[in-house]
Amino acid sequence: MARKIRVLVAKPGLDGHDRGARVIARALRDAGMEVVYTGLHQTPEQIVEAAIQEDVDVVGLSILSGAHMTLFPRVCELLKENDAGDIVVIGGGTIPEADVKTLKEGGWAAQLFTPGTTIETIVDWINANVKVN
């Protein structure tokens, strides 16, 4: 059986706007991926634990609260601490351009998608950049 890309879609922190996360989860499902959705208000610790148990290839964080400069690095650190630094971290939300640059350059996010991004762009990026073997 062909390997399927497994993605964890998570909403860390306190904001309650999960429409975007749910739309993305649904879209990735329609693109043939297995999507684990963990719901609202997740701590980075919970997200990393779920990512390990579910053995996902990608963690997608949806953040609309402005706490991205804290949450992305924390999730990446915890993944590394748990010997799971190979899991690709991407994200989406209202993230200013300057922060996008900092997060990507710092290695805290492989790719970030800001408002206006099409679903195709996200699906294509994952298919092109996530290697399953």
């Binding site: 059986m1 684990v36 390990i52 148990q53």
Partner: protein, 320 residues
């Protein structure tokens, strides 16, 4: 690279990676499962099945809590449907169980059915073994939301819960064959919605008329509400009571032995089917054969017979 010894010692990442390998049917799967097998057969496997929206995930979450109160290590396999269109899946059962994410003694894995139609994924039975060897004393399996005849869970669970809701159909629904026959325990969930009495009466009447419950275990009908916690503790103790009771009577051991025979048979069948079909396609020009079938020069029945006779002559000799 994936070491069974690490799995036995309870290494989480190893467990997760082995499950992925099995799910994807990757090379090395059978060797791994052979090595894992001696460490299995210890966990109490509890199946949770029922219609979509009956409350299976929330109930499973409550059962995790009960098991943890008793200091048991818990594995959870949560199955959701794979899209027949895209091959993708939205695995959302975890949402109700996330408060256990940080508990080192709870391991939750979501699975897509990947084309399997019995309410579970094809790899579920092997994943049970992985979690068993990983040290889980309780393995909870949540099936997809089922209709009437997705019954695979009965072959893998030691104790099967059929979860219903108060207004889930009339008397006729309870006497139909299928899901209503596989319960070891009936759970009428969402009791907070009221009107549980009619459902209980219908189930009890159905049970009164079932000859096979005259002796041995008769499935109790329990009322639960994950909202008010009604009946949850009682459900947990009834689950334990079921295993103890069927073990004492020998019924449980008999079921386990039957399952082992079935498991070998299934594997023999699957491997033989593949091997024989490969041989068939090597021996026959498939395109030509299909042309002949389409033109009605021959028929599928005779062609199949011919091939089977040839094979059995080879294996058993002409005199069998």
């Amino acid at each position: 690279m994936l070491e069974v010894s690490k799995l036995i010692q309870g290494d989480k990442r190893t467990a997760a990676k082995i499950i992925t390998l099995i799910e994807n049917d990757e090379p090395g799967k059978h060797e791994l499962l052979s090595q894992i097998y001696p460490y299995t057969g210890r966990a109490h496997v509890i199946g949770v099945t029922g219609a979509p929206g009956a409350g299976k995930s929330s109930l499973t979450d409550e059962l995790i809590k009960q098991a943890r109160k008793n200091n048991l290590k818990v594995g959870v396999i949560a199955v959701d449907p794979t899209s027949p269109i895209s091959g993708g899946a939205l695995l959302g059962d975890r949402i109700r169980m996330q408060e256990h994410a940080l508990d080192k003694n709870v391991f939750i894995r979501s699975m897509g059915t990947r084309g399997c139609l019995g309410g579970l994924a094809r790899a579920t039975k092997d994943v049970i073994k992985v979690l068993d060897a990983y040290g889980c004393q309780v393995v909870l399996i949540e099936t997809v939301g089922v209709g009437q005849s997705e019954l695979d869970i009965m072959h893998y669970a030691d104790t099967t819960l059929v979860v219903l809701t108060p207004e889930a159909g009339d008397h006729i629904q309870t006497i139909k064959a299928g899901i209503m026959e596989i319960a070891d325990i009936f759970v009428v969930n969402k009791a907070d919605l009221g009107n549980t009495k009619k459902m209980i009466t219908d189930i009890e009447q159905m049970l009164d008329m079932s000859p096979r419950f005259k002796n041995g275990w008769r499935p109790p009908v329990l009322i639960t509400s994950t909202l008010t916690q009604e009946g949850i503790a009682e459900l947990w103790s009834t689950i334990g009571h079921h295993l103890a009771s069927t073990s004492a009577s020998g019924e449980h051991q008999e079921v386990v032995r039957k399952r082992l025979a079935m498991e070998v048979m299934e594997m023999v069948e699957e491997n033989l089917r593949n091997a024989l079909w490969n041989y068939f396609t090597v021996k026959n020009n498939l395109t030509e054969l299909i042309d002949q079938l389409a033109d009605r020069h021959t028929d599928p029945y005779s062609e199949a017979q011919k091939f089977v006779r040839e094979i059995s002559d080879k294996i058993f000799g002409k005199e069998h």
